[in-house]
């Protein structure tokens, strides 16, 4: 049953751009790419927050770092995705490892606050990079080039690249969660003291998990820079971290498709409300509040409850 649902969703996702063009829905191809990029970012946060149980409030910094690596390399004349995207992943991962190494010494709300503080530092560093646009940000002259005769300027091609990356990332996360590493991480989330007593190097596991999440966030940032053809410090502002957190909670903390569901829900909600009123935030805020108060497990939890009941 589940496998058929999955295949049907995949078939729909693959067919979408082919159907969209004759129907004149080109705008929605770009919109769908945007959703998938945020789904990737939210899923990477879910790895840290859901599986690892670490309440990081600075995830936008890693997304932004990836975006800036692509933007800066592009400005310096390096357009190849094969160079800039892996570098974006590596830079964001290294940054996350450094932030995690300090932050993981603290617990609870202090961890939330110190990750927030680091993200703000990185935000102000981006604002201070006058050579790369400073507060104004940086326009990308083109999208990254991938070779093989593919042109990312074409929205449908870009859509398929993003779809491929998202599927690969979700599959890798699925395997990771089932592997020994995933089990250990979840056990640490449930009872760190016990895992430490058994003899696991809990700090190291959490740090690796944090850095992995940051690296995947860097990949989503690289895609986002291409999608917008523009990077600016707002990508790193704390409200962006808040939005990513909302997506994860909305979709389902620690659920494989939590990030995807949450990104779809939040972005579609924003889009629908913004068609009807400029005061769309009011509606989005009210719905979010209702979800926290009445559906504590997020959308994935609602779906699961439906299946059980």
């Amino acid at each position: 049953m589940r496998r058929w649902t999955l295949l049907a969703v995949l078939a729909l996702a693959v067919a979408f751009p082919l159907v969209a063009r004759p129907l004149g829905w080109e705008f929605y191809v770009g919109f769908a790419s945007r959703i998938m990029i945020y789904a990737l970012a939210a899923s990477s946060l879910n790895l840290i927050l859901g599986y690892g149980g670490m309440l990081s409030f600075g995830h936008a910094a890693f997304v932004g770092a990836g975006a800036y690596v692509v933007g800066i390399l592009m400005a310096e004349g390096v357009a190849s995705a094969w160079v800039s995207w892996p570098l974006a992943v590596a830079a964001a991962g290294a940054l996350a490892a450094a932030v995690g190494a300090v932050s993981l010494r603290t617990r609870g709300v202090y961890f939330i606050m110190i990750t927030l503080a680091f993200a703000q530092m990185i935000y102000y560093i981006a604002v201070g990079m006058k050579a790369y646009g400073g507060e104004e940000g940086l326009n990308l002259p083109a999208r990254s080039s991938v070779g093989f005769g593919l042109d990312l300027k074409d929205d449908a091609t870009f859509y398929y690249v993003v779809l491929g990356v998202l599927i690969a990332a979700l599959y890798a996360m699925h395997r990771l969660a089932r592997a020994r590493f995933g089990r250990v991480i979840e056990a640490i989330r449930e009872n760190e003291t016990r895992m430490e007593a058994i003899g696991f190097a809990t700090h190291r596991y959490k740090l690796v998990c944090f850095a992995l999440g940051g690296a995947v966030a860097g990949l989503s940032g690289a895609l986002l820079a291409n999608q917008n053809s523009y990077v600016n410090p707002n990508l790193l502002y704390w409200t962006q971290s808040g939005s990513l957190m909302i997506m994860v909670i909305l979709g389902g903390v620690g659920a494989l498709y939590g990030g995807l569901l949450g990104a779809i829900a939040l972005l579609v909600l924003e889009e629908v409300f913004s068609v009807y009123t400029i005061h769309w935030q009011l509606g989005v805020g009210a719905i979010l509040l209702a979800i926290v108060l009445y559906a504590p497990q997020g959308l994935a939890g609602l779906l699961a409850r439906r299946r059980d009941g």
Partner: protein
């Protein structure tokens, strides 16, 4: 000359720090007693500023407007606590972050609907000009009044928290909520009152800073993060910590912005200095916070023994 400049910046830092303290005081009590992350605290600051602007236009008196805005914001705060926040105390931090983030969205759009994106609020005309406080140093009289108000509120708060029975109950709640409840303290009522009180302090800060910064939608977001930095540095739940933290952050931020770029120019080529200076000044307080948490993970004055 440089001594005068330093004094002027120190006064600016003191003024900013005291206003941060008004925000942080309410936030740290909410955080300390209920273990609740309230991102919507900045929204109360915004609501206070908008109310003050409206009352100032209606009554024609700035000071009357500040008092009315305090009362109005306290009512808004208590209504918020009773209707929504109360349900979140038992939930985890994640749910609190999401819910109060949602309240920020609602508050921003609500304020935009009622007032529009920005309203004017100016200092009372009597305080418009500078006064000479030292030979060669003219200082804005309005900023001096802010310092006076901030100091007065800080002293009043100190007396209230350390010398009165209500204050004793609040401290008891902050250091051990379960024990205080077991001793017969009505934590629920106490907390609604604390929340309203914190909202009133927000309104003072919003109204006083309104003429200097701008009364606009979203004004709460950036200052909220600073308030969090303050209470984390000071130790969550501690009023004394909030005061020390606020002054440290206010001073470091103001003086850093004024002097780091100049200092860098002494050592670095100008193109580096002009790029690096403002960024370094902006991240200074976050570095400070990370360093303090590194050595004192509970902040400078931990409230829980």
């Amino acid at each position: 000359m440089s001594g005068i400049l330093l004094l002027e910046q120190a006064l600016n830092g003191l003024q900013f720090g005291l206003m941060l303290f008004l925000l942080a005081a309410g936030l740290t009590l909410v955080f300390g007693i209920m273990d609740m992350i309230n991102l919507a605290h900045g929204s109360l600051y915004m609501v206070g500023a908008f109310l003050a602007a409206t009352f100032a236009e209606l009554t024609g008196s700035f000071w009357l407007a500040v008092v009315l805005a305090m009362a109005g914001t306290a009512v808004v705060g208590m209504a918020l606590e009773i209707s929504v926040l109360r349900r979140l105390y038992a939930r985890d931090h994640l749910a609190q972050v999401l819910a109060t983030f949602a309240i920020i969205l609602i508050a921003n759009e609500g304020v935009r609907l009622i007032w529009g994106p920005q309203v004017p609020l100016s200092a009372p005309p009597a305080l418009a000009g500078p006064v000479q406080i030292l030979p060669g140093l003219d200082y804005s009289s309005y900023r001096l009044v802010i310092i006076a108000v901030g100091l007065a509120v800080a002293v009043a708060l100190y007396v209230l928290v350390t010398r009165t029975k209500t204050g004793m109950l609040v401290r008891a709640g902050a250091s051990n909520r379960e024990m205080a409840t077991a001793m017969g303290v009505d934590i629920k009522l106490l907390f609604t009152l604390v929340f309203g009180f914190g909202a009133a302090l927000c309104a003072i800060a919003g109204a006083m800073l309104g003429p200097i910064l701008a009364v606009q939608v979203g004004m709460g977001e950036s200052i909220l993060i600073l308030a969090f930095v303050v209470i984390v540095i000071g130790g969550i739940g501690s009023i004394r910590g909030a005061l020390v933290g606020a002054l440290v952050v206010g001073m470091a931020d103001t003086i850093g912005r004024a002097f780091i770029p100049a200092l860098l120019r002494e050592f670095l080529p100008p193109q580096f200095a002009s790029a690096l200076g403002p960024a370094l000044a902006s991240i200074l307080i976050y570095v400070l916070m990370a360093a303090i948490l590194f050595w004192k993970p509970q902040g400078l004055f931990p409230a829980r023994g």
